[in-house]
């Protein structure tokens, strides 16, 4: 078990061993960086093709299958196309800021991967305030979006940039608040401790993941909704609402800069999915005790793939929200719910001491009710006095 599980760690140490002692830490760091960039770079290429094929299958068509065996070389073709396409910079655009915007978006997102634990002792850096680092890096992307939107000097991109910033800021609050219960119960900001806290197994070998607790389930849903909004994906893809403002802040970008934005957006999605897996789905732990033999990074990959499929599935189904609805949804529904989630986590913590046999189900139902009722009331409040269901009378 530990052979296959630690295979990457072993390779890393082996390679670093050859380097002279003085510069060994540097070489180890470079190896880790290279590993992360290789894995998530190819994951980006794979996701573009998987997304188009799954979307196609959901729409009764094949999806790209001409380039390479069943379309697997499509990302290569897209990459070459992006590189060879002319990189047009509008005349009135602000050249330097126009050039810096994609960099300012992509570089911070790469940093966010440093802190995620992909497998047993397979996280690049072990910070004791890992989550704070993650959100600090994540918040730099708004500035990049503004730089892109403003520097293109084009009406559509300005409207798109304003929408993007309003959306990102108002969805950062529920994103951060929905992770607070996990930190409270795990008692530490470091991601490795959080994963360790979810390591034990309960009756029947089921892993003690956070998602099996009421506040964990609510937290995961809140986190995923906020993550979709943070990474500008489907129900919230207002910044590049094609049908309204062409491509929002991406209108004036073409060629490799557009590909960089694309890369930045997908990496943001991967980082948030990785965090969701680490916080709520037990990081690299196996779901059941008797499944412990599989390598830990494989579990992280499976959960990661499942969440990415969920994002693609949502993208295939839901229409887009309007800007004011989007902001109302965040401030009047998600944020209050995540605050209430804190109460539920606290209730869960204090009722932890019950010893009676029937404690777990009663405790679970009690906390679930504590979150379900506000969910219902806030939902009704958000939709306003929902008009009576439409009845259509017929004329003979």
């Amino acid at each position: 078990m530990s052979g296959l599980d630690q295979i990457f760690v072993g390779i890393g140490h082996g390679l670093a061993g050859w380097a002279p002692a003085s510069v060994r830490p540097l070489v180890a760091a470079v190896l880790e960086i290279a590993g992360i960039m290789a894995v998530f770079g190819s994951c980006f290429a794979l996701t573009t093709i998987v997304e188009r094929k799954v979307l196609g299958r959901m729409q009764n068509r094949y999806g790209p299958n001409r380039v390479g065996p069943c379309g697997l070389l499509q990302p290569l073709a897209d990459g070459i196309k992006m590189l060879t396409k002319e990189d047009i910079v509008p005349f009135s655009a602000d050249k330097t800021v126009h050039f810096l915007a994609p960099l300012a978006l992509t570089v911070p997102v790469w940093l966010a991967f440093a802190v995620l634990p992909f497998g047993r002792n397979m996280s690049a850096i072990e910070l004791n305030s890992g989550i704070l680092f993650f959100f600090a890096i994540g918040s730099a992307s708004e500035l990049a979006v503004f730089m892109a939107g403003w520097s293109s000097q084009n009406k559509y991109s300005l409207v798109g940039a304003m929408r993007a910033i309003a959306q990102m800021i108002s969805y950062e609050v529920p994103l951060v608040l929905s992770t607070v219960p996990v930190l409270m119960l795990a008692g530490s900001l470091s991601l490795n401790d959080i994963v360790a806290a979810q390591g034990t197994y309960t009756f029947g070998g089921l892993a003690r993941w956070n998602v099996f607790t009421p506040w964990g389930l609510a937290g995961l849903l809140l986190f995923l909704i906020a993550a979709t909004a943070e990474s500008n994906r489907s129900p919230f893809d207002l910044p590049e609402g094609e049908s309204e403002i062409i491509a929002g802040f991406l209108t004036e970008y073409s060629g490799f800069k557009y590909a960089l934005f694309f890369l930045g957006e997908y990496l943001g999605l991967f980082a948030l999915t990785g965090l969701a897996v680490t916080l709520f789905l037990g990081g690299w732990h196996a779901p059941f005790q008797w499944l412990e033999w599989a390598p830990s990074w494989l579990w992280f990959g499976i959960k990661f793939g499942a969440l990415i499929f969920l994002f693609i599935w949502v993208r295939a189904t839901l229409p887009r929200l309007r800007l004011d609805q989007l902001l109302n949804f965040s401030w009047r529904f998600l944020t209050p719910l995540s605050l209430i989630n804190l109460l539920v986590a606290a209730a869960w913590y204090w009722t932890g001491a019950w010893k009676s046999a029937a404690a777990p189900p009663v405790r679970w139902l009690l906390c679930a009710a504590l979150i379900a009722l506000p969910y219902h009331w806030l939902g009704q409040a958000l939709r306003g006095a929902s008009p009576p269901p439409r009845k259509y009378n017929y004329a003979e």
Binding site: D94, T96, V97, L127, N128, S129, L132, F133, F135, A136, I137, S139, A140, E142, L143, F146, M147, W150, I165, I169, E172, S188, L189
Partner: protein, 173 residues
């Protein structure tokens, strides 16, 4: 050795960002350079192993304050460049002595303050947990005061930004 080079690099970047924020013509460029300076400062904190301070600085300043500055520039005067205005006003020579005076008293107070005398202990580990406890126990009053201050500022901003409903304001804008 590596540390010194990194420190020099980061310090020069931060200073360059700050100076650029002051000197450039285009307001939005100044705002972006200011954001660069904030990021440089955060990197300096991290170099001193003050993780919490560094990440908080990055989160608060680069994440929020920079956007705030940029928005205020856009919504108020826009980023047009005043044609022909030189960066330094004609009576710049009056400013130099005043600047020198302020710098002198600043340096004087720093040098004479007791904190410098004590030898800085080797990289003191300040894990987040102890910071959290300190905040909640010893420094609870300043934390609450800051909270109140920020809410008041938030409410003030909302009141200013709210556009009066047309009915109550008869005259044209």
């Amino acid at each position: 050795m590596l540390n010194e080079i990194a420190f020099l690099l980061l310090a020069s970047l931060t200073l360059a960002g700050a100076v650029a924020a002051m000197m450039l013509r285009n307001l939005v460029h100044c705002a972006l350079c200011a954001a660069g300076a904030f990021a440089g400062l955060a990197a300096l904190y991290l170099q001193l192993n003050a993780e919490f301070a560094g990440f908080a600085q990055l989160l608060v300043y680069v994440g929020a304050v920079a956007i705030l500055i940029v928005f205020t520039i856009l919504l108020t005067r826009g980023a047009e460049i005043q044609p022909g205005g030189t960066t330094a006003s004609p009576s710049w020579w009056m400013g130099v002595p005043v600047g020198a005076l302020v710098a002198a008293c600043l340096v004087g107070s720093i040098m004479s303050s007791p904190s410098l005398l004590r030898l800085p202990s080797q990289n003191v580990q300040a894990p987040v947990k102890s910071i959290g406890e300190q905040l909640m126990t010893q420094y609870i009053m300043p934390l609450e005061a800051i909270g109140l201050l920020l809410t008041a500022a938030l409410l003030g901003a909302v009141v200013i930004a709210m556009r009066e409903p047309p009915k109550s304001e008869p005259a044209a804008r």
